[in-house]
């Protein structure tokens, strides 16, 4: 007996026309397919690489290792205050321009110019080459022709994106579509208290997105995280979403509020009762200065609303919680069966120690769940690779998984058509 209304077609999956047949996971276990995804997806879409708060002043910069896109970028605030991005490569002989100690590790800081460690070539914050060591030794070298190679960068609601496809002229805001438009005006900029976590996960990047775009698993995998009686009850009821949304490659799921605060304090752990916090975040919402949520949040306007999860293709998720905090996920592939996961919690800065501890409990709870989730993925990846089973049924709650894999396939197929790559990979749903 469903608690929340489904569309007239009888299911969200049919409503959005995503097909109901079993799906193949060949796209997650093939290194040939992954090589296609790198060029078809990660070099051709807008990728979120950070937030404007990471570039507080002129000369602030950070680097991003985009292994899937076969490059490293340096993102900075130029002397006009604009956000810019460049390929992180010196124009002289190809050395990585900005790095510390370990060439493969990301770094950040503030500077007036970038100087290559190798031969001392310098570049200003607009990427112009300003100095060449022993310039007269070169042959007709024009510094003006040897600026850093720019990467298209744009900002949406404080989130910085880059796009490595020089031919793609789709503006960021248009790319993010209705799902992005529905969040415009949300005060992300007030949530400057940041906790960021990183994990190296032994699974295909899409498998972790799968795990975080369905809550079908939550009452089971995380059963032990609730008190025993509550856990049995949750598992008996299962999960239902309030609503789903799909627009182009992007999707969202709107979820009920659960434990924030719980109906009965005996449902939660002792520390949660004292700190008023838990998996759903601090129960006491800070003021964020808006009277009404943007239309894209709690689209069903349901009174039981608790949080919405947004998947911006390919690898960026934003979770916005009723009690005014935000969680983002990024999944950066490093091979067909490994990726780096980043989870970042954003809060309004705490005014009191109690608020700080409530935030700590929310963050640490996220970590406890995340550890269970990411370890399960390794178990999934290895068995998918056995190919002992090749077709998998997905239920209506797994609609965003269908969307993700279907969209990823579409990008790969378009790319193959355009480049006539002879590699053949079996198609999913």
């Amino acid at each position: 007996m469903p608690h929340f209304t489904k569309p007239a077609e009888g299911s969200w999956t049919e409503h959005f026309g995503l097909g109901t047949e079993p799906v193949s996971y060949e796209d997650s276990i093939s290194s040939a397919h992954y090589e296609l995804e790198r060029d078809a997806i990660f070099r051709r879409t807008w990728l979120n690489v950070g937030r404007v708060e990471q570039l507080p002043r002129v000369g602030s910069y950070f680097t991003r290792e985009l292994d899937a896109a076969r490059t490293s970028v340096v993102v900075l605030r130029d002397s006009d205050g604009e956000v810019r991005a460049f390929h992180n490569i010196c124009r002289h002989r190809g050395n990585k321009l900005v790095w510390n100690d370990y060439p493969g590790e990301e770094t950040n800081g503030t500077c007036r110019q970038f100087t290559c460690k190798y031969h001392g070539w310098r570049y200003n914050l607009h990427g112009e080459c300003t100095f060449v060591q022993q310039e007269s030794e070169f042959f007709g070298l024009e510094k003006a022709d040897h600026g850093l190679v720019p990467v298209r960068a744009d900002v949406w609601e404080g989130f910085i994106f880059v796009n490595l496809d020089g031919a793609d002229t789709t503006p960021l805001r248009e790319y993010l579509g209705e799902i992005g438009e529905g969040l415009v005006g949300y005060p992300f900029h007030k949530m400057t208290q940041v906790h960021r976590y990183r994990a190296e996960v032994r699974s295909n990047w899409k498998l972790f997105i799968d795990a975080f775009t369905e809550f079908y698993h939550a009452p089971v995998l995380h059963a032990k995280q609730a008190v025993a009686e509550e856990s049995r009850k949750l598992q008996g009821i299962g999960y239902e979403a309030l609503a789903y949304g799909v627009d182009g490659p992007h999707g969202m799921v709107s979820s009920w509020g659960g434990m924030s605060p719980p109906k009965d304090l005996s449902m939660v752990k002792p520390i949660e009762r004292v700190l008023h916090s838990g998996l759903f975040g601090p129960w006491d919402a800070p003021d964020i200065g808006i009277d009404e949520l943007p239309p894209g949040l709690n689209p069903a306007r349901h009174p039981s609303w608790g949080m919405d999860s947004f998947l911006f293709f390919p690898n960026f998720m934003v979770l916005i919680w009723k009690t005014n905090w935000v969680l983002t996920y990024h999944y950066w592939p490093t091979s067909y069966n490994t990726h780096i996961f980043e989870g970042t919690c954003y809060f309004v800065p705490p005014r009191t120690a109690l608020e700080r501890l409530a935030q700590e409990l929310a963050v640490v709870t996220f970590k406890e769940y995340g550890l269970q989730d990411s370890n399960t993925l390794e178990a999934t990846q290895t068995m998918l690779e056995s190919r002992a089973v090749t077709e998998f049924p997905l239920n209506d709650q797994e609609i965003l998984l269908r969307l993700l894999h279907r969209t990823a396939h579409q990008y790969v197929n378009e790319y193959r058509q355009q480049t006539a790559t002879p590699v053949r990979v079996s198609a999913a749903s």
Binding site: A199, G343, T344, R351, A353, E360, L361
Partner: protein, 108 residues
């Protein structure tokens, strides 16, 4: 030499839990026995409300060092609450060798 506010002298035996970063707090949890985690929890948990009232007299941006240490100690209580209240073991069950490490967090 005491490291916590005088009002919390009773927690001095657990002052080594006053750790500034989540990564180190979690590492200490993993390297502790359940008896050690339980002893810390049993002493610190009953004093949680008193500690947050005490800490409320300070601005978050201008805490004296001993108050900061008390706050960090209670961040550690949050970290050990999971093994004590639910897991009955220091490590998250079924988490194997998986790591999820803090790479950015607030200073206090």
């Amino acid at each position: 030499m005491p490291t916590l506010p005088a009002e919390f002298a009773d927690l001095e035996p657990f002052a080594d839990w006053a750790i500034a970063t989540e990564r180190e707090r979690y590492a200490k949890r993993l390297s502790s026995t359940m008896d050690e985690l339980q002893a810390f929890y049993d002493s610190a948990f009953p004093r949680l409300e008193a500690a947050s009232s005490y800490l409320d007299q300070f601005d978050m941006g201008a805490m004296p060092d001993e108050a900061k240490r008390l706050l960090w100690l209670y961040c550690s209580l949050v970290t050990v609450s999971f093994p004590v209240e639910v897991w009955r073991q220091p490590r998250v069950p079924d988490s194997g060798s998986t790591r999820l490490d803090a790479v950015a967090e607030p200073v206090v």
